[in-house]
C-alpha cells in the first residue's frame, strides 16, 4: 500500500500538467510519456486495440459533477480514443437524453433520470458479461443493500432501475440480470450544509432548516425530484407528515408537503433556491445562506475558499443519489466496443479514486483503493483523522492534517441513507405542484 503513495502523487501532477498542455503538444510530450508509462505499469491493461480505435470519438454528456476534463484526458492516455464532454444541468440532461438521443453516445446520468429516460427507448442496456470489473461494483447497486443485513432505503434506489430483463426491454427488472441500464459510477449521501459561524447553535435535524431564527437565510434545491425528497425529510422531521413511502408519495402527501413549503416561502424563510452545485457553493460562501440542503463536494468547495462550512449529519439520516453511465441506443460496432472498454476502464480504479478525492464515492470502491494513499483512503472512506494534508485532485490543499470527514466513514454515511432521489408514480402531479410552489 505504501508503494502507492508516490506514483499516485506523481500521477496527479502529470495529469494536471497534461491538462495544461493539451493543446501545446510539444511542451507536454515528456509529461505524457511519464504518465503513460506509469499508468501502463499499474493497470496492466492489455493493449489489444487496433490502431483504428484511436480514431473513435465518444460523445459523453451529463452533469458537471462528473463530466471532468481530467477524465477525458486520462481516457485518451490509457485507451487511446477521444472523449468529448458536454456538461449541463440535470434538467437539461434529462431533456437531451430523451429528445436528442443521437446527440450523444454515452449518457452520464443519475438513476432517477434513468427511470425517466430509459423507458423512452433512447438507451440500450449493457451486457454485464462484457465487463471485467462488474463484480467489483458495490452491492448497493445490485440488491440495494450496502451490507447483508442493511435496510433498503426509500425512493428510487439504484438497483430498482438498474436492470432490465433482456437486450430489448424498456421496462425494469426487479432482479439483477445480465443487462444493466446504467453502470454505476458515482454516488453520495446528501444532508444539510451549515455555516457553523452563523447558525450559532447545534443543528441536529432536517427540521432545523425551518427554524424562524434562520428566516431569509435558508435555501433548498429546486430540482423537483430531489427537492421533494429534501422536503419530505424536513416535513417528517418536523412531525407534520408521516409518509408511507417518501419515495412514492400519494397525491395527498404531495399536497400537504407543498403546502408546508409554500407557507414557509410566504413567510420569507428561503433566501433562494439553487439548481446546481455551484449555486449552492456561492450561496453558502457569500454568506447569503447559513443553512441549506447541500452536496458533500460543495461543502468542501466552500471550505476551500476559507469559509467555515459543515456537512451536518442529522438524526433522520441522509438523502442519497447515484449516477452512472449508459449507452445511447444508436451505438454499435467499433464505437460500442470502445464504449464498453471505456466503462470498464471507468470502474478500474483511477476514476474512482479521482471521484473519491472529490468527496463522492466510487461505485467500485475496492478498485479505487489501489489508486489512493493509505491516508487518503482513511480520511475519505474510513472516517479517520487525516495524517497529512488532504489534497484535491488538482493538488490544492483541501483539509489540513488532523481533519476528520463530516459524517464519518463510508459505511456510516451510506448506511444511514433514509431515501434516494426518486421519480414517483405521481411524478407529473408532483412536478406540477412543485412548479406551483416555485412560482407561488
Amino acid at each position: 500500500m505504501n508503494d502507492n503513495d508516490t506514483p499516485d502523487n506523481t500521477e496527479d501532477t502529470t495529469v494536471k500538467s497534461k491538462g495544461l498542455n493539451r493543446r501545446k503538444l510539444l511542451k507536454g510530450a515528456a509529461g505524457v510519456g511519464v504518465a503513460a508509462v506509469s499508468s501502463g505499469a499499474i493497470t496492466g491493461f492489455p493493449m489489444i486495440w487496433a490502431q483504428n480505435i484511436k480514431n473513435v470519438t465518444l460523445r459523453q454528456f451529463g452533469t458537471g459533477v462528473s463530466n471532468l476534463n481530467a477524465i477525458a484526458d486520462k481516457c485518451k492516455e490509457d485507451l487511446g480514443f477521444n472523449l468529448q464532454l458536454t456538461s449541463l444541468d440535470s434538467d437539461s440532461v434529462t431533456q437531451r437524453a430523451v429528445t436528442q438521443p443521437n446527440s450523444y453516445d454515452i449518457a452520464d446520468i443519475e438513476y432517477w433520470i434513468c427511470k425517466k429516460v430509459f423507458p423512452s427507448g433512447a438507451m440500450q442496456p449493457l451486457d454485464v458479461r462484457r465487463l471485467r470489473n462488474y463484480d467489483k461494483i458495490s452491492s448497493l447497486f445490485i440488491n440495494g443493500k450496502l451490507t447483508e443485513d442493511a435496510d433498503i432505503a426509500q425512493g428510487t434506489a439504484p438497483h430498482t432501475v438498474g436492470f432490465v430483463p433482456d437486450r430489448n426491454a424498456t421496462t425494469f427488472a426487479d432482479q439483477p440480470t445480465d443487462w444493466m441500464t446504467l453502470i454505476p459510477t458515482i454516488y453520495n449521501a446528501d444532508t444539510l450544509g451549515i455555516r457553523p459561524d452563523l447558525v450559532g447553535r447545534p443543528i441536529t435535524s432536517w427540521a432545523d432548516i425551518m427554524d424562524p431564527a434562520f428566516r431569509g437565510q435558508t435555501s433548498i434545491i429546486n430540482i423537483p425530484s430531489i427537492g421533494i425528497m429534501d422536503a419530505a425529510m424536513i416535513c417528517e422531521a418536523m412531525g407534520e407528515i408521516t409518509y408511507a413511502d417518501k419515495g412514492n408519495m400519494t397525491r395527498g402527501e404531495i399536497d400537504q408537503t407543498i403546502e408546508i413549503l409554500k407557507a414557509a416561502k410566504r413567510d420569507g424563510q428561503f433566501r433562494a433556491f439553487w439548481k446546481t452545485f455551484d449555486e449552492s457553493v456561492n450561496l453558502m460562501a457569500s454568506g447569503e445562506v447559513m443553512i441549506q440542503s447541500m452536496w458533500s463536494p460543495a461543502v468542501a468547495a466552500v471550505r476551500s475558499q476559507g469559509v467555515p462550512c459543515v456537512y451536518q449529519p442529522l438524526q433522520e439520516g441522509y438523502r442519497a443519489w447515484g449516477g452512472g453511465l449508459g449507452l445511447a441506443s444508436h451505438l454499435s460496432g467499433l464505437e460500442l466496443d470502445a464504449a464498453y472498454e471505456y466503462i470498464d476502464w471507468y470502474l478500474s480504479g483511477w476514476v474512482g479514486a479521482y471521484l473519491n478525492r472529490q468527496g463522492y464515492y466510487s461505485a467500485a470502491p475496492e478498485t479505487s483503493r489501489a489508486y489512493m494513499s493509505e491516508d487518503e483512503w482513511g480520511y475519505w472512506m474510513q472516517g479517520r483523522e487525516a495524517q497529512g494534508d488532504i489534497l484535491s485532485p488538482s493538488g490544492d490543499v483541501m483539509e489540513r492534517a488532523g481533519a476528520v470527514r463530516d459524517g464519518g466513514s463510508f459505511e456510516e454515511r451510506m448506511g444511514s441513507v433514509a431515501c434516494w432521489n426518486s421519480v414517483m408514480d405521481e411524478n407529473q402531479y408532483m412536478v406540477r405542484k412543485w412548479n406551483e410552489f416555485i412560482v407561488s
Binding site: G64, N69, V281, S286, S394
Partner: protein
Amino acid sequence: MNKRPGSFYPLAAFFALFVLFLYGPTITIALLSFQGPGGGLTFPMRGASFHWFGQLFEAQAVGNFGTSLRRSLLLGLAVMICTVVFSLLAGLAFRKRFKGQSVIFYLTLTSLIIPSILISLGIGLMFDRLNLESTWYSSGFGSHLTWTLPFGLLIMFAVFNRFNPSYEMASVDLGASHWQTFRYILLPLLAPSLMGIGLFGFTLSYDEFARTLMTSGSFNTLPLELFAMTTNVTSPVLYALGTLTTAISLSVIALTLLALRVFRRKSVRESEA
C-alpha cells in the same frame, strides 16, 4: 460662448450616474477577476494577480471556453453574412410595392418581438418532430436569424427612407444597367450601413442565449457555456472571461469606428481624385 442652461448640470450629473450604473457591475467583476488564486465570486478580494486570466487559457475542470468560443465566432460570422445579404435584398424588395409585402413585414416584426423562449421551444420541437438533429449550425443558425434579420431589415428601412433615389436615376440616365447601378452606386453608398448591420448581426448572434437554448444541439455556444458555468464554476475565471470579452468588445468597436473613418476618408479622397 453661449451660457449653458441651468438644467444642464443636474442632467449631466444624471447622465454620469447612469453611466456609472451601466459600468458599475462591469467594473466590479473586472476588479474581482484580478484576485489571487484563492479568490471567490464575492468580496472581499483575496489577493491580487493575473491568475484567473491565465486559467482562462488552460483546460477547465468543467466546460471549455475555447471550443464554444470558436463555435460562437463561426456562428456569428455565418449569421452576420446572411443577415447582411438577406436584409439588403429584402430592403431592396421593400422599396417597391409587391403582394404579400405587409404580411412579410408583420412577420418580421413578430420575429423581433416574440419572446425568445417561444422560438427556442418551437424550433426545438419542430426539429424533434421532423427527426432532424438539432445542431448549432442548423437549428441554432436559423433561430439566430429570426433575431438578427428583423434588426437588419429595420435598419435597411431606415437607410432607404433617407436615401435619395436621384443617384440611381442619374446612373441609369448615364446608361448603366441595373447591375452596374447596384454595383457602382448603390453598394458603395450603402456600404457603411451594411457594415453596421453586419456588426450588429454578429453581436446579437454572439450574445444570443434564450433562442439558442433548445436549438444548439450537443454543443454549447459561448453564452450557453457561460450559463452552464455560472452554475458549475466557483472561481473568478468567469469574471476574467467577462473582463476579457468586455475588453474585446471595446477594441472591436474602436476598430470598427476606425475602419469607418478610414473608409470615409478613402471615399472622400477617391471622390476628390
